[in-house]
Amino acid sequence: MSKGEIVAGCLAPHPPHLVYAENPPQNEPIAEGGWEQLRWGYERLRESLADVEYDAIVLLSPHWQTYVGTHFLGLPKFKNLSVDPVFPNLFRYHYDLDIDVELAQQIHDRAADAGLAVTMMKNPDFRVDYGAITTGHMFNPAWDKPLVVISSNRSRDYYSVEVMQEMMIELGRVTREAILASGKKVVVIASNSLSHRHFTTESAIPEDMSKEHITSHAMHLWDMRMIEYFRTGQAQRILDEMPEFTEQAIAESDGGGLSWLLSTLDVPTYPGILHGYGTIIGTGNAIVEWPARNHKEASE
């Protein structure tokens, strides 16, 4: 079997507003547009990967929140209606997704061997969280690639950002090992926003872009600082500053996705490509691609 490969790593946020604004047939509510900068960012990400062959998408979603370890979707197919419990007016999406159970099991087993608490989720009634569905749709609206969906272990809530990061770096390491051993070509995705302070009101027309901006200057500064590290290949600095960023920007990196992603990419020293940045109900969201396929030497 040939060696597996991570062809790209992506930061790909999941606010349901992006699906809402796009009006795909799977989603019930209808919008007049909105959040174009981010949706065009997703377009650029898709175009960047259009000619890249890969077999599966491995995605960590902060909205499947688990407190008893890390869980993996463990059945080949999940089909249901996903209704966002926070923005049900925007997101009621009929999904039908395929799971690469084999790869999920391989990552699970390596994580278990490494001492992490892990569980395969095999209840067919389980409703996949809207974060995974939103990012899944925006990244690959054709849904023609199987997914591995990993829960967000809330160890940051139980311990600290430092403990969370330690666990997620370990999970990233075994994720990478499992992918390389699998013989498959894979895209890895962390589905999270950057700064994560919401507005607590919603305009009468949710897609009214005249109301959209970052919640505070401090959030903007943190987002730009992180993006500058993304763009200049300074992943280690991101990890180093993760506790301050997560706490001060109330960042959604608290779910562990960004730490896991950077670890899975072996802490890249090459630049990430910023495909887009924008705010959604006040939160900061960046779409970033690390084109690992072009930097194989970096991690050999």
Binding site: V68, F126, H198, T200
Partner: protein, 478 residues
């Protein structure tokens, strides 16, 4: 129709073990038996409404209330999916849900109803309703727990709910679906090995239950922040349910409490507690904060440069309500004369005049604005800051506060709002505010029927948008 009332309150655990696996652990079984006892008591109480505040349904845009009359789906817990699935089909009182939503808005809260096919009812609500109302005989409503809500907002939420309970003559049961300590084991365990995660958590849980067993609900409410720091995992939803439940019970501290069970659920503290409104004589109320009637705070409680204690600090100050001392003229004591009527429950004047004056059969009120007595706060927010910079404000909240102040002055004179004969209203921005002002008028003074004149003026002495000049019938004197 007689006034509605709260006829009981329950605190119940959220995890699915009591529904799906009570036989796997003796403690889980005892919690299930307590749930069944509570269900039987509710059935025998004559309750016609169950009101659930669930900590496992976080919301961001204010509070959300389920208004689908018959939500149906299958619930699977994010962590404990191996225990199985819980199909549900509930009987929701959609009319009450909509009325509560409107009552929330009247009290300045952000709120909306949710009635979408397939909306995922949260695990805490599903467990509570499945076990407390197994045959769906009693209609229910469910409200979310807003992640940014502070104590004032959560308390006002309960007051809005009770407005509707009273107005609709309901005999309601309030239920908080919640854990006590919520630290679970972070690895799978055998059911037989379940216990409270730590001795410290257990000790705090027992102290909370001791207070609740004595009916001292408000004391637990006042300890909420301490409890959160001591035994709560730092999730976004703080230990707010005691604020809501205490508010539902008029912040009473002398209920009759009974702890039906207390056990571990994967390490977290789960308890079934019954709080009966019958006075126990246990404790006195020492309400430690302003008794907020309207929520006017914008909720940017977290800013990048602020500490994690910011939310706590903001809770005790209610700063958005307060008019900075330099934002408006100095306040005066109301003048006294033979026919004057002055009220401690009305805001202080901005000049040398009384709140009202009795002349023959008539009562002439000085111009009444929305400022709150004591705090000088402006419900709905001031129209500009101390530097004159315009601010966004809620004209409906301001108008409602004006009507309330008028009511207080009339009550001081021995009358009621129904005595109002003629009103002259002053608005500083007719184009912006007339509609909202008019809506509140229609629901309040419009029901009384006084004559009315509405004028646009350039400014009022304090940073308010509306003021009313009232002539009312004077109550007969002895």
């Amino acid at each position: 129709m007689s006034d509605g009332e709260l006829i009981g309150s329950y605190i119940v655990p959220v995890h699915p073990h009591t529904v799906l696996a009570p036989e796997q652990n003796e403690g889980w079984g005892r919690l299930r038996e307590a749930y069944d006892t509570a269900a039987q008591r509710i059935k025998e109480s004559g309750a016609d409404l169950l009101i659930i505040y669930s900590t496992t349904w976080p919301s961001i845009i204010g509070h959300q209330i389920i208004a689908d009359p018959n939500p149906e789906w299958v619930m699977v817990d994010h962590d404990f999916h191996e225990l199985g699935s819980i199909p549900y089909s509930f009987n929701i009182d959609e009319k009450f849900a909509h009325a509560w939503n409107q009552a929330n808005e009247k009290r300045g809260l952000k709120s909306r109803t949710v009635a979408y096919h397939g909306f995922p009812i949260d695990v805490g609500s599903v467990v509570a309703l499945k076990l407390l109302n197994p045959d769906n005989a009693i209609p229910a409503v469910i409200v979310s727990s807003n992640v940014y809500a502070n104590r004032a907002e959560t308390t006002v939420l309960s007051k809005a709910c009770m407005d509707v309970v009273k107005a609709t003559g309901r005999k309601a049961i309030a239920i908080t679906a919640m854990s006590l300590s919520n630290r679970m084991f972070t690895k799978p365990i055998e059911p037989k090995d379940d216990r409270i995660h730590s001795l410290k958590d257990d000790e705090w849980n027992r102290k909370i239950l001791e207070l609740l067993g004595e009916g001292r609900l408000e004391d637990v409410g006042q300890l909420s922040r301490t409890i959160h720091r001591q035994i709560r995992v730092n999730k976004v939803v703080a230990f707010k349910p005691m604020w809501w439940l205490s508010g539902m019970n008029s912040n009473r501290n002398n209920l009759t409490g009974e702890v039906l069970a207390y056990e571990a659920l994967h390490g977290a503290g789960g308890a079934v507690v019954h709080l009966d409104p019958t006075p126990s004589g246990a404790g006195d109320i020492e309400y430690d904060e302003d008794d907020v009637e309207y929520f006017a705070g914008e909720r940017n409680v977290l800013d990048g440069a602020q500490s994690e204690n910011q939310e706590i600090e903001s809770l005790s100050v209610e700063s958005p309500l307060e008019v900075p001392q330099k934002n408006g003229p100095a306040l005066w004591e109301p003048t006294e004369s033979k026919d004057s009527v002055n009220s401690e429950a009305a805001p202080k004047p901005v000049g040398a005049y009384p709140h009202a004056r009795r002349v023959g059969d008539l009562l002439y009120l000085s111009g009444v604005g929305p400022r709150q007595p004591g705090t000088n706060a402006i419900p709905g927010g001031p129209i500009h800051d101390a530097d004159g910079k315009p601010l966004n404000y809620d004209i409906k909240a301001q108008t409602q506060a004006v009507v309330d102040n008028i009511t207080r002055i009339l009550e001081e004179a021995g009358g009621t709002i129904n005595d109002v004969l003629d009103v002259t209203s002053f608005l500083v921005d007719m184009d912006r505010d007339f509609q909202g002002y008019n809506e509140v008028w229609a629901e309040t003074l419009g029901q009384v029927g006084p004559t009315r004149t509405t004028l646009a003026i350039r400014a009022l002495p304090t940073p308010i948008a509306v003021e009313m000049k009232v002539i009312a019938k004077a109550p007969k004197t002895e």
